[in-house]
Symmetry: C2
Amino acid sequence: MTTPTSRNEKSKPFNSVAVPSGRNHKSRPVDWNALLAGINGGKTIIEYGASRTIFSQGQPADAVFYLRHGKVKLAVTSEQGKEAIVALLNAGEFFGEGCLAGQPLRMATASAMTDCTLARIEKTRMASMLHEQHEISELFVTHLLSRNIQFEGDLVDQLFNSSEKRLARILLQLSHFGKESRAETVLPRVSQENLAQMVGTTRSRVSHFMNKFKKHGFVDYTGNGGLTVNSGLLSVVLHD
Amino acid sequence: MTTPTSRNEKSKPFNSVAVPSGRNHKSRPVDWNALLAGINGGKTIIEYGASRTIFSQGQPADAVFYLRHGKVKLAVTSEQGKEAIVALLNAGEFFGEGCLAGQPLRMATASAMTDCTLARIEKTRMASMLHEQHEISELFVTHLLSRNIQFEGDLVDQLFNSSEKRLARILLQLSHFGKESRAETVLPRVSQENLAQMVGTTRSRVSHFMNKFKKHGFVDYTGNGGLTVNSGLLSVVLHD
DNA sequence: TCAAAAGTGTGCAATATTGAACAGACACGC
DNA sequence: GCGTGTCTGTTCAATATTGCACACTTTTGA
């Protein structure tokens, strides 16, 4: 799978989604995918192969995406050509929602890190859905809240910590990233270059710290190319 | 006004808000304050004098706030005692919304920068309002979206730019901050220490760059203690 | 009004960070 | 097998940044 394939579902008439009646809106498990599946107008299901670009910084922004399966990364390129990774997204997250706030152009480049299936929802469709459907609106608010918390944490991290601690923090995050399946402490393959882009430093610095971490036993190389993150890495973040 | 005063409005029965009917939900001007004023249950109106603390990092988080008048800042303190300012809020913004995502404790300290009046909305009340009232929900989504964009911008700024550029950016932001009234290019009084906390650097560095900016005519001291930001400061952010 | 507190302009040595370079390790396709 | 490209470990000088120090100025509050 390397080219995006799309099944346009615009032809089907819209009919309102059957959702569990909202008598107790907290601690009620909701099958969000089923919920989203019920949205039939102004939506397109698309599949992307690994490392495909979903949209690029600077392109006109007229749709919101919902990630059903796979992992997506958001990267920003500066005028000087430097690249920074601002977010890693798991299944169940929205992205490209800036256009709802009136952003005319994409502020970042979204690319598939693995094979992905995602729903593309027209901006106008999304806006009216938010207006008309409680469940969607609540799902979206939930997503925005947690994204906000993530961003705030990243910002505070940048403001406070040295690149060594930031790298440690990123590694810990990655080791928990996508823990849907098993308790995997093994990272997906991430190059030092990518780590540097997330941490906001240079590759040579990442190489330097990774070796330091290895010496102290905080990370291990697992045969092939993957890394294992030892929870002792926490001490780097917390101590001193 | 130096002590918070509160008028509890919990006694009034809840009745649904009279809002303009939502036939065209974009480009429809809404008097948000009037809208919020209609929320009568589980809400308290509080007034704070300048430099009062609204809530502190680490306290239990069980309410969301809506800022009606005044300016509020959100600051985070690290274990090492360093302080960072993560957001400046204007009238019309929510804060403390992390609790809706399940955060049990405040992650930041909120303090009034000017005399403020704000609405304190119980977490549970806010949750049900988001569930039941379109207008509130949409207002909240709008707020979350713009806050997200702001955070993402700040993060990218930290990842890409030197402290000199970051300072220039903050000054430009501040000069537009609170432009509700006049086209004021004059900053409210902000100490170099505070600037350093926003930029993520030290005061001596801020002093150094401020003098550099003054030499180049990018900022001016207006008699008393205020600063005027010249738009030429943009060249610092953009150039080189 | 005066003294304390807060804010500012400097300077400087100790560190941290960049940016570029180069060689070796490794995977991959042909 | 053999190039080719990517990733890595390592170095090193040039910069940027920190953390302090001290003398001044301004603001604040009693």
